[in-house]
C-alpha cells in the first residue's frame, strides 16, 4: 500500500494541487503558495521513491484495477523513468521559484499554476507508466496543458505559435495512436514488457515494421527531431518564458524518453532484438541531420528565445546518436545526455528571461553589460552556457565526451565527427550568447538589476549542472542501470 502511494505520488500530487488551485483561483497569494509547496512536496516524494526503489527493494509496481500484472494499466518505478521523475521535480521547483518574478497576477488569473501543475503531473505519468496507451494519454494531457501555457497572454503571436504547435502535435498523436493500435493488434497486449516478449518471439513482419515506423514518426515529432523539427522554433519563442523553459526541459525529452522506451525497450535495439533492425541506420541519419541543421539554425538568430529553441532540438539530436549506436553503452550515453540536457536547457531559458528583464530586449544585439551590473548573474549564467558548449568540467562535456567515445567504439566514427562539428558550432553560438549579453557595452538604456527569485532558481539548476560535472560517475552508473533496465524489457517479461 505504501508502495502504491509512493509510486503514484509524483502523478497524483500535482493533479490534486492543480484541482486545489482551480478551486481557490480567486486568491492569487494562495495559488502562488500552493504552486510552491506542491512542487517542494513533489521533489521530496520523488526523492523518497527514488531512494526506496534503489534501496534493495523489489521494483515498486502498482497494477490498477486489481488485475494480474500485464493485463491492465500499471506503473512501475524502473529506470530511467524513476531518475527522470526526480529531475522533473527539481525543474518544476526551480520553475515555481522563477515564476515568483516572471508570472504576475494577470498570468496567474489566466490559470498558470493549474496548467503548470497538470503538465508536471502528466510528464511524470509518462515517465512511470508501463502501458502504451496510457503513455499516449499522458502525452496528450501534457500537450493540452502546454497549449494553455503557451497562449497564457492571448497575444496574436502566441495564438499563431500555438496553432503551429497544436497541428504538428495532433498529427504526431495520431501516428502514435495508430502505432499503439497496431502493436495491440500484433501482440494482443498494451503492456510494454509483454508486448516486447511477444515481439521478440516472432520474426519481424510488415505489420510490426509499420507500427515501428509510425511510433518513430510520432515520437520523433514530439521530440523535435529532423525532419519534423520546424514546429519547435516556430512556436516556443512566443510563450511566457517560465513556461517555455519548462517545455524546453521536459517536453522534447519526454518524446525522447518514449523513443527510448519503445525502441531500446520494446523493440530491443541495443539488446540484440530484431524488431527494429531496419530502423537503426535511420536513427543515425536523423541524429546527424538534426545536429547539423539545428546548430546552424541557432547561429542564424540573434533573438535569444529562437536561438535557444534551435539548441533544444540540436541537443535531442545528440541523444539520438546514443540510440543509433544500438549498444548498451550508447543507450546509457543517451540517458546521461537527457538528464544533463533537461537541467541545462531550462536554465538557459531562465537566463534569457532575466537578460530580457534587465536589458529590456530579447535581442542579443540590444543586450549587454550584464557582467558589470549583475556579476553574480553572469557567473551563474556561465555554468549552463559553458555546459551546453561542452567545456570541461561541466556536465555537457561529459555528456558529449561519452557520446563521441561510444560512437568511435561502435565503429560509427562518422557520427562522432558530426557530433564534434555540431559541438564546434554550439561553442561559437554559446560564446557569442554569453559575451553579447554580459561583456558587450549596453546600448542606450541602463541595465537593471535581476530579481533575486530568478537568480535563486537559476542557482539551483546551475548547482545541479556543477554537481553532475564534478561527479559524473554517479549519473553514469545510474545511466548504465537505466540501459540495463531498458534491455531487460526486451529480454522478456520486464
Amino acid at each position: 500500500m505504501t508502495e502504491t502511494v509512493l509510486l503514484t505520488a509524483p502523478v497524483i500530487l500535482p493533479f490534486v494541487a492543480a484541482a486545489l488551485v482551480l478551486i481557490l483561483r480567486a486568491r492569487l497569494a494562495v495559488t502562488r503558495a500552493i504552486g510552491l509547496i506542491a512542487n517542494g512536496a513533489l521533489l521530496v516524494a520523488s526523492l523518497l521513491l527514488f531512494f526506496y526503489a534503489n534501496g534493495g527493494h523489489l521494483v515498486p509496481l502498482a497494477v490498477f484495477g486489481g488485475w494480474p500484472q500485464g493485463i491492465s494499466i500499471s506503473f512501475s518505478a524502473t529506470m530511467p523513468g524513476l531518475m527522470l521523475v526526480v529531475v522533473t521535480a527539481l525543474l518544476a521547483l526551480a520553475a515555481s521559484i522563477y515564476a515568483l518574478v516572471d508570472v504576475g497576477p494577470r498570468r496567474r488569473r489566466a490559470g498558470y499554476d493549474a496548467l503548470m501543475l497538470a503538465m508536471t503531473g502528466a510528464v511524470n505519468g509518462a515517465f512511470l507508466t508501463d502501458d502504451l496507451f496510457n503513455l499516449y494519454v499522458w502525452f496528450e494531457l501534457a500537450l493540452i496543458a502546454a497549449l494553455g501555457l503557451l497562449t497564457l497572454d492571448r497575444r496574436p503571436a502566441q495564438i499563431d505559435g500555438a496553432i503551429r504547435y497544436a497541428s504538428f502535435s495532433m498529427l504526431a498523436a495520431t501516428f502514435i495512436l495508430l502505432g499503439v493500435g497496431m502493436i495491440y493488434g500484433i501482440t494482443g497486449t498494451l503492456d510494454v514488457g509483454r508486448a516486447a516478449a511477444t515481439l521478440a518471439s516472432q520474426p519481424p513482419t510488415f505489420a510490426s515494421a509499420t507500427a515501428a515506423a509510425l511510433l518513430l514518426g510520432g515520437f520523433a515529432l514530439k521530440a523535435g527531431l529532423f525532419p519534423f523539427h520546424l514546429w519547435l522554433p516556430a512556436s516556443y519563442h512566443t510563450g511566457p518564458i517560465t513556461a517555455v523553459a519548462v517545455f524546453a526541459g521536459l517536453l522534447t525529452k519526454m518524446g525522447f524518453y518514449a523513443l527510448l522506451l519503445i525502441f531500446a525497450g520494446m523493440f530491443g535495439v541495443g539488446a540484440g532484438g530484431i524488431g527494429a533492425t531496419q530502423l537503426v541506420p535511420v536513427f543515425g541519419w536523423i541524429a546527424a541531420a538534426t545536429i547539423l541543421i539545428c546548430c546552424a539554425g541557432a547561429l542564424a538568430h540573434t533573438d535569444m528565445r529562437r536561438m535557444l529553441a534551435y539548441h533544444i532540438v540540436a541537443q535531442v539530436g545528440y541523444m539520438t546518436i546514443g540510440l543509433a549506436l544500438a549498444t548498451r553503452e550508447g543507450i546509457a550515453a543517451a540517458v546521461f545526455y537527457m538528464v544533463h540536457s533537461i537541467v541545462v536547457q531550462a536554465n538557459l531559458f531562465f537566463g534569457a528571461g532575466l537578460i530580457r528583464r534587465a536589458s529590456g530586449s530579447w535581442d542579443l544585439t540590444r543586450a549587454g553589460g550584464m557582467a558589470r551590473t549583475n556579476p553574480l548573474f553572469a557567473l551563474v549564467l556561465a555554468v549552463p552556457v559553458l555546459s551546453l558548449a561542452g567545456i570541461p568540467p561541466l556536465s555537457g562535456f561529459w555528456a558529449k565526451f561519452i557520446i563521441i567515445r561510444e560512437s568511435f567504439d561502435a565503429d560509427m566514427a562518422w557520427i562522432g565527427v558530426v557530433a564534434l562539428i555540431g559541438g564546434l558550432l554550439t561553442i561559437v553560438s554559446m560564446s557569442s550568447f554569453w559575451s553579447d549579453a554580459c561583456w558587450k557595452e549596453p546600448r542606450g538604456k541602463p541595465v537593471r538589476r535581476v530579481p533575486l527569485a530568478g537568480l535563486i532558481a537559476m542557482t539551483i539548476l546551475s548547482g545541479a549542472t556543477l554537481a553532475i560535472g564534478l561527479m559524473p560517475q554517479g549519473l553514469w552508473t545510474l545511466s548504465l542501470l537505466s540501459s540495463r533496465a531498458l534491455a531487460s524489457i526486451a529480454g522478456g517479461g520486464g
Partner: protein, 126 residues
C-alpha cells in the same frame, strides 16, 4: 471484410491528410477531426471486428469464448474524448486567429514568424 475496412480507413486517412495540407485553417481543423475518425476505425480493426458477442463470461463457464475485444473499445472511447478535446482546442485557436487577422488563410496568420526579428517591439511582460 477486414480488407474492406482497412481500405476505408486508408481512404479516410488520405482525405484527412490532404485537408490538413490546406492553407485554409478551418479545412485543416476538419481534416484533423477526420483523421481522428480514421484512426478510431483502424483501432477497431486492430481488435478484430468479426465477433459481436459482448465480453461477458457465462455463469457456468470458466473462460471467455468468442467475444468482442473490450480493450480496443475502451481505447477508442478514450481516443474519441482526447480527439474531441484537441479539436475544440484547435478550434478556439483558429477562432482567436480569425478575430485578430480577419483571415483564415494561414499565409495571413503569421505573427509568430515576425516575432523575434530585430524590428519587432513587444509589450512588457507581467
Amino acid at each position: 471484410m477486414t480488407l474492406l475496412y482497412g481500405f476505408v480507413g486508408a481512404g479516410i486517412f488520405a482525405c484527412a491528410l490532404y485537408m490538413i495540407l490546406s492553407r485554409n485553417l478551418v479545412r485543416m481543423l476538419l481534416g484533423f477531426s477526420m483523421l481522428a475518425t480514421g484512426v478510431n476505425l483502424l483501432l477497431f480493426l486492430a481488435g478484430r471486428i468479426e465477433s459481436r458477442q459482448p465480453p461477458i463470461i457465462a455463469d457456468s463457464a470458466r473462460a471467455l469464448g468468442e467475444a468482442a475485444d473490450p480493450i480496443t473499445q475502451a481505447m477508442i472511447l478514450t481516443a474519441i474524448v482526447i480527439g474531441f478535446a484537441l479539436t475544440v482546442m484547435l478550434a478556439v485557436l483558429v477562432l482567436r486567429a480569425w478575430r485578430h487577422a480577419h483571415s483564415i488563410d494561414s499565409r495571413n496568420v503569421d505573427s509568430a514568424e515576425s516575432l523575434g526579428t530585430p524590428q519587432e517591439r513587444e509589450p512588457a511582460d507581467d
